[in-house]
Subunit: 458 residues, 2 copies
């Protein structure tokens, strides 16, 4: 299928058509969802290309445009929503070769898109700064992958989500044209590319604002009941004088899935997994006392965040492969009331964990309830039960960028796509109505696209 001339045009740029490599590099973490797994089964790239420089990326972009070869940018493949899975074959462009830090000022950094976030953060911390936020996959995930396919993470309890103004300062992209252009996007324009799953140009550089580095204490606090733990979580998240980077609250039995933490997580108890700044530890302990919590673990930076956000699902699936999840956001008004109602009514079927985050100027919690999958009808019933309590649901089981309805995809992003990818070669099949796959959706993919969603702009 792949034109020989395309391969010739790649020249010295490392690439592989080895079957094992194609299988590995065509997959991401969409296996978290049984529906998405079925929908994406058998989707494979024809070649994996690994650029070493911006010049290589330009050459790949030109070759794809010239020969009409579809392409998908890939960071570490840690996305859960099929972001890195090629739906129409073609090339997977593996970015981790672009790992240079362009510059680092006290308040901001600019680096190539392929750099691992863990490595970047490590470099920043040498100068007393750190990333404002990172996903639970920090060690593996790349800067470009996070900005292209992520939306928030550890640190969002302080800084809001990536889309909130000021959290991405600038981006450089390469257009997919016979003569590729280099575009710098700044201000609100960064959102033409952010969370667009790599359909709007190949991101080669990203500029981010920084936070002060602190000594973070990985801390577990246990509570008799989930309601109390959630109240504590909200209090800690909103106490502005107390340093924190992560506030993640888990209803039993979720803590039972964290095998290596078992001795800090007593049977039947709710648990808060936290990162607390060492300087304000005494103030934090006073707050714990107010809520009758018990600190069972407190260790400097031991990787506790790898049990929260997306990682919670991974540990749960390791323990019980029948589990799946919803992605929901609790309402701005009476956030705790909605959390308690949902837990009270549905907690026996859908196990709740919360990640507190700021979002568009206010504090709320994201929830990823875990439940034993029984099919489409159960999923729809749970969606509706959550919505009835004022909770908004994202469709986490479709690879369609619009999230099951055009309402969430910005028209400006679509218009921009036509200018930077005129042949519609980037990650095709992700935008319903624009670059639909031949024959349309069927089976699990169709079913997934039809799951209800409340509309929730990341």
């Amino acid at each position: 299928m792949l034109p020989d001339k395309f391969i010739r045009d790649l020249g010295e740029i490392p690439h592989s058509r080895d079957a094992a490599a194609l299988r590995v590099k065509s997959a991401d973490f969409s296996w978290f969802s049984p529906i998405m797994s079925a929908a994406l089964a058998g989707r494979l790239a024809d070649v994996v290309v690994a650029p070493r420089s911006e010049q290589d990326v330009i050459r790949i972009a030109a070759a794809c445009a010239k020969h009409r070869v579809p392409l998908v940018a890939r960071g570490a493949g840690t996305g859960n929503f099929g972001q890195a899975v090629p739906l129409a074959g073609g090339a997977v462009v593996e970015m981790p070769g672009l790992e240079r830090i362009a510059w680092h000022k006290p308040g901001s950094v600019r680096a190539q898109a392929g750099i691992r976030l863990g490595l970047l953060d490590q470099e920043l911390r040498k100068n007393g700064r750190e990333l404002r936020m990172h996903p639970s996959t920090k060690k593996l995930a790349t800067l470009g992958g996070f900005v292209g396919g992520g939306h928030a993470g550890i640190g969002s309890v302080n800084w809001g989500i990536l889309r909130d103004r000021g959290n991405i300062l600038g981006l450089k992209i390469i257009t997919i044209e016979e003569t590729p252009r280099l575009l710098e996007l700044r201000g609100d324009d960064v959102n033409l590319v952010h969370h667009a799953y790599g359909v709007n140009g190949l991101v080669t550089e990203v500029e981010l604002p920084l936070a002060a580095a602190h000594e973070w204490l990985d801390t577990i606090v246990v509570f008799d009941g989930f309601a109390r733990a959630a109240e504590f979580g909200m209090a800690l998240a909103t106490q502005d004088g107390i340093l924190k980077k992560l506030v993640s609250v888990h209803a039993w039995p979720i803590p039972s899935f964290f095998v290596s933490l078992r001795k800090y997580l007593p049977e039947g108890k709710a648990a808060a997994l936290l990162m607390i700044g060492a300087e304000t530890r005494e103030a934090f302990e006073a707050l714990v006392g107010d809520f009758l919590g018990k600190v069972s673990y407190c260790v400097p930076e031991a990787g506790l965040y790898e049990y929260t956000w997306g990682h919670t699902t991974m540990h749960a699936l390791r323990a019980d492969r029948s589990l799946t999840y919803l992605v929901c956001i609790f309402p701005r008004e009476d956030t705790l009331g909605a959390i308690k109602r949902v837990h009270g009514k549905l907690g026996a079927e859908a196990f709740l964990h919360l990640e507190f985050k700021r979002f568009n100027g206010y504090m709320t919690a994201e929830g990823v309830p875990l439940f034993r999958y029984r099919g489409f009808e159960q999923m729809t019933r749970l969606y509706k039960a959550f919505e009835a309590e004022g909770v908004r649901i994202a469709n986490a089981h479709t690879f369609l960028l619009q999230n099951g309805g055009m309402k969430d995809l910005d028209a400006a992003q679509i218009a921009f796509k036509r200018t930077v990818d005129p042949h519609l070669l980037m990650n095709p099949g992700k935008i319903a109505g624009l670059d639909d796959l031949p024959g349309g959706l069927s089976g699990a993919a169709l079913e997934a696209a039809q799951l209800p969603a409340s509309g929730w702009a990341y």
Copy 2:
């Protein structure tokens, strides 16, 4: 009145009984209030003592206890509420000789109480850190004075008020006993001393958490109307991704009082006086555009904060000596609604300015409406009109610590006072019912104490 033996016990510690010195060192900024001015007229210390070290402070404390000499600690005398005015004569203990920085870690600093906040901040910034918050009197005010008599300031839009847990890490005090004790207070215990107007021990050292230093752009944005300016203020204050340290919004004619800024403040317009982080300037400008504001001034760190918070009153009084003020805090729910209603109903008489600040976990605005003083009845009428809109009022015209009602003074603070100041010598007359002045209150002081107040724990 002052026993000779007391003076002898002071030894080599610098002190003065010069009439001019006593007059200057017995005054603070309570002249802002015509009521307080009248109430405090003629209150003078008998001696000003200027310790050079902690040992000097211990010696002064012992001498005061032994000879039953009242004492008042003094930083720079920039408080507005009579904090530094001696009501019962005795000694003013002037602290700026204690100006050593004990240590400075990346996340916190410990310094002697007499250090000027401006100097301290300057030292911190050499290492990429700065104070979380400071009053508009930063250049003059001392660390101990801020913690003893202040409550919030520039930076509170990010970190909340001083009383919020985590904003004061520790305090060292010297008790007023024949054999003074040195006590270290940490965690919640710091509030036994914070905002107690110096009645609970002589503070010699303070430990504070720090923030990352940023390049702050002093910025003025003008708006056609005050309502729009207030909406913009709230949006900016809550946009977590945009760096800011000050969000202060002024209704016309307040900007007309800022003589040296006149060319940036068009006739009849509302103005926002801001400190914006240079890194996220583009995101800030996008927000300004959303609210149809116009940036008229944007200069790195030019001291714009000296037109906000308490300084606003000073500039207003310079322009029109007949003005006075209320101190109010807007409600958590529908903050903007209350601001607009108050401005709509009372704005012609009481000119509004707002300082946005976080407070006990949520964003709100403090307001200091300025109006031409017409006496007790007008003041009471305005109090009630503000309260009717859900706005809580502090009584800014009484020197009584309880704010016109025992409800706001913590019983633990009173109990603590008895242990650290058993002879009730510290700043006597500030706690009604405990150390009332001989003959009780009369005239303006009595009138001021009877002004209504909603109760507002700083």
